[in-house]
Symmetry: D3
Subunit: 240 residues, 6 copies
């Protein structure tokens, strides 16, 4: 039995608070179950060194957990003087996913940074960051559109992300922390609303898994991402 | 005229959300005007190196701003590989203030870390951190008391903090960012509910100021701190 | 046409030099096409902090590129004072994969570090590191077995890794750098010799890809990994 | 009884060695009791990043202790790879105080750095740094004046700093280390020669203190700063 | 008796593999006994800050050991977040030696970095780095010459380096690790092929040594360097 | 002509101020011409990691320049977050030289750190650090002897250091900065009072130099070191 009698293929309740912060161009607090991530998209008139002199722009992400977001307090990166490797990996994933559906050529001279700060972590923070971060990015671009920077939003396609995993031999959608920590295999998926694949990352943490198990995980993920996009669209309409 | 017709000696509306996060022993989101600081108090069974072998415990604070908390995005400390000196200074102040009213001898073997993460900054983040952080610390100690660690709360006295400043020659209580950035002098005060002084930090940023101006600032601060303690007490009662 | 008339589903020539270095317990220079990675497994009588006090051991990996390994010189991590995020991500992948097939309980009190230093990079360095690193780890454990530390090798299963990708709409096995840099999608796979999945990481770099394209990539990868294990087994027999 | 029968409101003997070093534009060794701080003001033709493109200049300070300056050796910042937070706080204070009386607009394109290196620490190093650093800065500007950079010295006003504190219930001026370490409250004051306030920093380290105690501390500080300015003026005249 | 019956004044077998790596302009694997150093010279169109605006170029070196190069694994610099002081010292020595015989004025706007990565360390890695690094630098300049950048090679003179030491009172040429660790005195010499001195570094590690012992060490070093240059010249001819 | 008509083989005036600082066990301000180095020897009851568990003790050195010690201000190490490689090299040299004449076995469980802080640099700071640091170390051990820690001073032998160089073809003793910056070759020597060699470091900065030039440099150095030891002995006697 899952917490709250959740079905095998059921997402946790998801909620988007648009405009949570006043200053960034796009701001979304995304909550999925007890997991809460604040996604803020800030626009700056500067380029990363490797793009200076070119004609396009850039989208990047930063991911960090508040110290008290987890069951036992985790130290700040600055205390150990290095970005946690796990955070480095996750923020590369978020940035890659967001760039893959953005027309960077339209962002000439601008960098949009999507900060994903985890307020509370109960599993699925990286996928929530992508699902919420996409909305923050889209909102920031809508704002630039209203300001006349461009006439169509350069975020060309909707994407979302979700996890699935094998727990006690069963394939489950959207693992919470207690499930994730017991999972035999763990899969994170980023897809478009139509289920085309942007990124897959899966690990057999306790044992190797089979092609047919993989297919079960992908089926669940496709269903979950489709539902996430649908429920997110309601928030998008309201904010237009 | 101040924003929202605020009077010279009037605080911004203040609100405490107790239990904002689920995991830390004490958790408070404090909001004062548009300034929002999340204060989480975590208890750990470890001591800082300089106390190992002794009989008491420790209280410390960490202060940090989210990148999108300010009008223009500010870089994370880890990007520049050093704790911002301003943050270092502020977290030393918060820790000192909280320790000054805590019976550290009762916290034997424990460290309580009060994390003050600024979600949105519109002036007064350091004083909000002290006012909210005190409540988070008190709540964490109440929890330890319920768990039987001690029979009286080791936080012996109520303290709060507020700023006051001189803007266009006028003495104002509780500066917001637009006032703070134009202030001729800026004063941060930490006091007990009865107006006894814990810490004063004041700067004549644009010009030296006089003893009588100082007295005006102190009078305002005493009034503000007294009001903050009174309104905070309502939240304390509810959470018992 | 691929370089050297390589077929779509053909690996680059692969070569293992066992015992390349004299001091580490297991040492392998793995070469696949022009890519060369030196994999050294060192045994130390110490544990990482999170395992101290427990009964098992640990396997970890470090990955680094020599500055002159790439077409244009890349700076050392120490120059920029941070581990390259890409390296952090890769060494986490290698360590996870190696641990997934090792009986850590048998390595009581020991840490085996598998250093993967890229001498020359022409695509596929992370997969070569896993394929070669597995052999270095196995050799180090054989040596411990000969020294009487245990009677069976704690590395329970053979694994290897390979990449596949979509280039100009065609699915190709084992991309070299010139292919990788033009790939629409890029997939890294770690599997057992029987094709059961340990880890998958795939990205649609230029465009989303479909489930049927994914299946094509997985079929190629399974074939490649099976061949890599077979050819590596010859080197294992010789070194017994 | 204080060391050397010093009265409650008496400064320690103070001495300024002007021109202690040959290379910097302004160089002063300030000694107050056993506390010795070397203050050197160096002029450079560069601006900090946030001023580039503007018309003015900048004054900044760096504060550091020699390892053997204290009773037990203190480690260098570079050993722990971070600027001691206490030093960060102090150098911000020194810089702020010196800038508050300098016409930065006259220093166009120049940065003057006032290095305050503590040779020996017996309490009051931060206030000695301000009192001595002001003189080093003024001397550097006199030199620039002689070189024809400007016709009046841009340091518009004399400032000095001193500490006062409450020890065993008694209000004392200019604490040495043995007094400071026992103080119930500790106050650092920066004022003009006429007693107008530049900066106040006070802490009730052992207990809160009252407004009337505060007034006692301020009276002592005003007296001390006035005397420091008077005795420093003699050294200024000699060096013209 | 020395290992392999080596005579007091006999070098270990030395071997140069020219073109070991494909990408850098000059690439040499130098082996002397069991010591193996990979020397790669990379040409970049940039200058270090202190030369920008000038007319010449720069030659610099970086020295690093692979973790498994030594009998017991050594940690990477990035783990401890600082360049090992020994490495810093050695790379300064290599760079100084190479610059002393290069006409930097001819390298206008270019920096040549000679990376010396120690694959295996059995004593004499710094001298092998100079002897091999000189060849890598010369090859890189030959390549630039072929590319028409200049008509004569700017490396004006041949240099090589070797160690000598006093072990059990006996003066020995080219110490291996087991000799070096027992040496009473240890001497590193860099000379031209004709025995003129570029750099000397000698330490009486166990006891002071005399002028006549020094002369014995210098005689051995001169002989060794002369032989190293002679044997290296064969590899130079072949690569023309 | 040298500054002040100094002869080719003449030292600059040298002066030792014993007891310059009050807290460290041994404290010496050494001045040679305009070069001034403060050498403080501090005794601590701790051992470096590699000696813990052994029976002896340790002597080490740290070397640093004040920012205003040089003609143009040099940045603090902490600003660039790394120990200047030149300083790292010099402090290794000082530590090695001091250890070579100290009976470390007598310092059981203690570390003596000799801090060499350059107040003003006019050439020869590393040799002055050794000459002055030796005295600080000897004084600290005399103090321990008085405290009954041992009955003979563990510093067994007198050493000192000096530079010599070739300027305009002429061999000169004890170069000042203006000579050093024009030197064709530069030699630093550490010897016992009897001229036996502890350490030699010499570089042909502008051109290779010959064996006979080397002999000229060594003759000058031997003479200089002998004189330094003699004049230092006067200060030692006075401080007994």
């Amino acid at each position: 039995m899952r917490y709250n009698n959740r079905a095998r293929d059921e997402l946790r309740p998801v909620k988007f608070t648009v405009g949570y912060c006043d200053y960034p161009a796009g701001s979304v607090l995304v909550e999925t179950g007890r997991t809460r991530v604040l996604c803020n998209a800030s626009v700056e008139d500067r380029l990363p060194p490797h793009l200076i002199g070119g004609t396009g722009g850039w989208v990047t992400a930063e991911y960090s957990m508040l110290p008290a977001a987890t069951l036992t307090r985790n130290r700040r990166d600055i205390s150990s003087m290095k970005l946690a490797p796990r955070s480095a990996e996750i923020q590369r994933l978020i940035g890659r996913a967001l760039r893959s559906v953005t027309d960077l050529g339209m962002l000439s001279g601008m960098t949009i940074t999507v900060d994903c700060d985890v307020i509370q972590a109960d599993g699925g923070t990286r996928t929530a960051s992508i699902t919420g971060g996409w909305l923050a990015l889209w909102l920031a671009c809508e704002k630039l559109k209203k300001d006349g920077v461009f006439t169509v939003n350069p975020v060309r396609e909707e994407i979302a992300a979700v996890s699935a995993g094998i727990v006690n031999g069963e394939v489950l959608l959207d693992l919470d922390y207690s499930e994730d920590s017991r999972a035999e295999a763990d899969f994170n998926m980023v897809m478009t609303a139509e289920g085309r694949i942007i990124e897959l990352q899966g690990t057999g943490e306790e044992r190797p898994f089979s092609r047919s198990e993989l297919n079960g995980l992908l089926d669940l993920g496709t269903k979950g991402i489709c539902e996430l996009c649908r429920s997110r669209r309601a928030y998008m309409k309201r904010s237009l």
